[in-house]
């Protein structure tokens, strides 16, 4: 972090001179209260470790069934991708696409972008095409909705248990862990660090 750096608040445009931002501290806009900078201790190591964890959990969350139902002799399990395929097969491909993008592809790309940025930074190198990857990451970020999907799973379970036996799948546990890991990545990943280290 260079000292005496100028920053404009992204919410109200007020200029701030940030002198020696303390490690682990947060700088807040004096006029509108927006968070200007939030440096975390060991941001690089922690977010790299969490991103790798996230990718492993992502594979697990997609490889096994999320939920299964049992009613009499009938049994049916649903994976994440399988649910999208059911919508596609029923002719609701637009909804299927929306679910595929927001619950599978964008969260995956988000994790891969962060891994791509963090590994070279960890080795003190400048990531190739950093600007493009950072901007892709920032654009996709609001569209990754795995946490909303988790709430969707909970609502579905409560709806279904009244009618039939609901069996939680392996993926469900991976999914729950993944939500926590994604929230932690969002808290520890520091884009300013990436910009500053990636510059030189």
């Amino acid at each position: 972090m260079q000292s005496n750096s100028l920053m404009a608040c992204h919410d109200c445009d007020l200029l701030h001179r940030i002198d020696g931002h303390p490690e682990g501290g947060t700088s807040i806009c004096s006029r509108c209260g927006a968070v200007l900078l939030s440096h975390k201790r060991n941001s690089l190591d922690r977010s790299l470790a969490l991103t790798i964890t996230g990718l492993i959990l992502f594979v697990m969350a997609n490889a096994y069934p999320l939920l299964a139902i049992k009613s009499g002799s009938l049994y049916r399990a649903a994976t994440l991708m399988g649910s999208v395929e059911v919508l596609y097969a029923a002719g609701m491909w637009q909804i299927g696409l929306l679910v595929f993008l927001t619950a599978i592809l964008f969260p995956l790309l988000d994790l891969l972008c962060r891994l791509y940025i963090l590994i070279p930074l960890k080795m003190n190198r400048k990531p190739w095409k950093l600007s493009f990857i950072m901007s892709l990451n920032q654009t996709l970020n609001p569209w990754g909705m795995m946490d909303v999907f988790m709430l969707g799973i909970l609502v579905s379970v409560v709806k279904l248990v009244k009618m039939m036996k609901v069996i939680p799948g392996v993926s469900l546990f991976a999914f729950m862990m993944l939500i926590l890991v994604l929230a932690a990545i969002a808290a520890f990943f520091d884009p300013h660090l990436a910009w500053e280290k990636g510059e030189g």
Partner: protein
């Protein structure tokens, strides 16, 4: 009273992507300028923010109507097919005692989109009439809609899972209804609308007040 020291008032422009501050050249021309660090096009404010936000808000309102009126799900059992709208689903869950499900669906699918649309209209109008009323609270309202927007999608995910699971041979099946598409599109529109609104416009109104006073 002096105008507040904003980037715009001292001819500087922050990059929307990497937040690096650049000096605007003395001729004041910003068009075609790119951030020296990350190469993003520089803008003092989000381009055409008010028009784009209005267009997306109006599109969201148009899509909200069929999303509420048409059936969002169709349940087929041996007793016949039953269509449910979002509200009839909420009412069904109140009657069947699952008030917590009813609450989640009502808040996420009905209340949040309406609140988002109303807050955006309020913010757009207050910027257009150059209102200087409680800018801090307006900025907070903006942050709230940015935060809650995506949670409206929960109903789409519930329908996806129910449709995937309830395919019990000829006994029962569950399918997404036509409203699902309108609803999903409406949520996407409100998210784009929130992204295209620039909260700095709220604070610009305060400065125009300083100039005249």
């Amino acid at each position: 009273m002096n105008p507040p020291l904003t980037a715009r008032n001292v001819s500087m422009v922050p990059c929307h992507r990497c937040h690096l501050i650049s000096q605007i050249p003395s001729d004041g021309k910003l068009s075609g300028m790119a951030c020296p660090r990350c190469g993003a096009a520089l803008h003092q404010r989000k381009p055409d923010s008010l028009n784009r936000t209005w267009a997306l808000v109006i599109a969201a309102i148009v899509f909200y109507i069929p999303a509420m009126v048409l059936p969002i799900s169709v349940t087929t059992t041996f007793a016949g097919a039953q269509s449910d709208t979002i509200m009839s689903g909420v009412i069904y869950f109140i009657h069947s005692g699952s008030w917590h499900i009813a609450l989640v669906i009502f808040v996420a699918s009905v209340l949040v989109p309406i609140l988002k649309i109303l807050i955006l209209i309020f913010l757009l109008i207050s910027v257009q009439v150059k209102s200087k009323w409680r800018p801090l609270d307006s900025t907070r309202l903006y942050r709230i809609i940015e935060l809650i927007g995506k949670w409206s999608m929960v109903d789409i995910y519930v329908i996806t899972l129910m449709a995937a699971l309830i395919k019990l041979g000829g006994l029962a099946s569950f399918d997404a209804g036509p409203a699902a598409l309108y609803f999903g599109t409406m949520v996407v529109f409100t998210m784009f609308a929130a992204m295209s609104f620039d909260p700095r416009l709220i604070w610009d109104c305060m400065e125009e007040n300083h100039d005249s006073g």
